[in-house]
């Protein structure tokens, strides 16, 4: 079960999916942007600059979520030598990297009007930068190493070592004094310090970014499957 998969069967489904995902993405993004930019209220303290949150926070969540997925898939592919896990991880990584950069850039744009600085070497921001470096290494490793066995091993180990950084990012604002504010949403008790009228656009934009990641993933994954088919392999 872990050892083999049939690219043809998977491709039959994944090759049809992108157009539906694209449609759903455009619908959710449109509603999300209308909510985020027009319908949602301004913040009592930050006024309109709070709207950067609706891009910044979902982007950061998605980049962390994708990295965690890379790690789980890498553990699977490293231990069980499952090639499909490796291909899924390889296809997921680019959108995670893009959203990581988006989170850093929008954070910088948000930091200037609120904190008064573009960049601060505090624990949260620095650990997010370290995540981007891990993404960079991961993506480069896929390009550098030619040998199939070798590339799966090296990329898996990068993703597994890099996951140590994920809890550091999450709890950096609690463990140390940081310029970055603590989390607004407690993932265990689901208590939130964000007013409900602002949670709607935040949720919609998160869904839109997740759909976008899924779309890019499907396109990348289909390309990988086509590459396999062209080699005349029915199974790995």
């Amino acid at each position: 079960m872990f050892r083999y998969f049939e690219p043809n069967k998977i491709f039959a489904i994944t090759s049809k999916a992108p157009k539906y995902v694209l449609f759903l993405f455009i619908v959710v993004l449109t509603i999300g942007l209308i909510e985020a930019l027009i319908l949602s209220p301004e913040d009592y303290k930050q006024s309109d600059s709070v709207r950067i949150m609706y891009v910044h926070v979902p982007a950061a969540w998605i980049s962390l979520g994708i990295f965690s997925s890379l790690t789980l898939l890498s553990i699977g592919s490293f231990i069980f030598k499952n090639k499909n896990f490796a291909l899924i991880a390889k296809s997921l990584a680019p959108s995670g990297f893009v959203f990581n950069i988006v989170a850093l850039v929008t954070g910088s744009i948000w930091g200037k009007p609120t904190w008064g600085t573009w960049w601060a070497w505090d624990a949260r921001i620095t650990s997010m930068l370290v995540l981007a470096l891990f993404y960079g290494m991961y993506l480069l490793a896929w390009r550098i190493y030619e040998d199939k066995e070798e590339v799966v091993k090296i990329t898996s180990i990068i993703a597994i070592i890099g996951v140590v950084n994920v809890p550091v990012i999450k709890y950096s604002v609690d463990w140390w004094n940081t310029l970055h504010q603590p989390a607004s949403i407690n993932i265990i008790t689901t208590n939130t310090a964000i007013h409900s009228s602002m949670l709607i656009p935040l949720g919609l934009m998160t869904a839109a970014f997740a759909l976008f990641s899924l779309l890019i993933f499907l396109m990348k994954y289909n390309t990988e499957l086509i590459k396999l088919k062209n080699k005349g392999l029915d199974r790995l």
Binding site: Q46, D122, I161
Partner: protein
Amino acid sequence: MYGKKVKLRFLFLVLLLATVILTVFLILQSLKENVIYFQSPSEINSLIEIESKKIRVGGMVKEKSVVINSNEVNFIITDFKNEINVTYSGAVPNLFAEGKGVVAEGFLKDKNYFSATKILAKHDENYMPPEVKEALGVK
């Protein structure tokens, strides 16, 4: 159920993760002083000697402590246990206000007096529309 190689690879990952976690933990522990972005007035108060290097102090801007004359701003940073007087010449960020978070970067003259070269506003995790804030009855 699984082959010997699978078990060995699993063991390898467990050891790898344990090593990395331990290493990162030890590094962060020993770098604690450098990982924190700012010190609180209480931490400043417990300093044994005052160093001349640039540091950051953070806390709340004490209510009714901000005095602005010509191009100099004076205020008090408090953590509700200890306080420190800050003087700064220049423009403060928009979100700088009494009762709100602040981080001041600069030099410590003595335990109660800080000369800032840069002021950063630290905002909290609460987001709400102005009407809700008014309804809550806080200023």
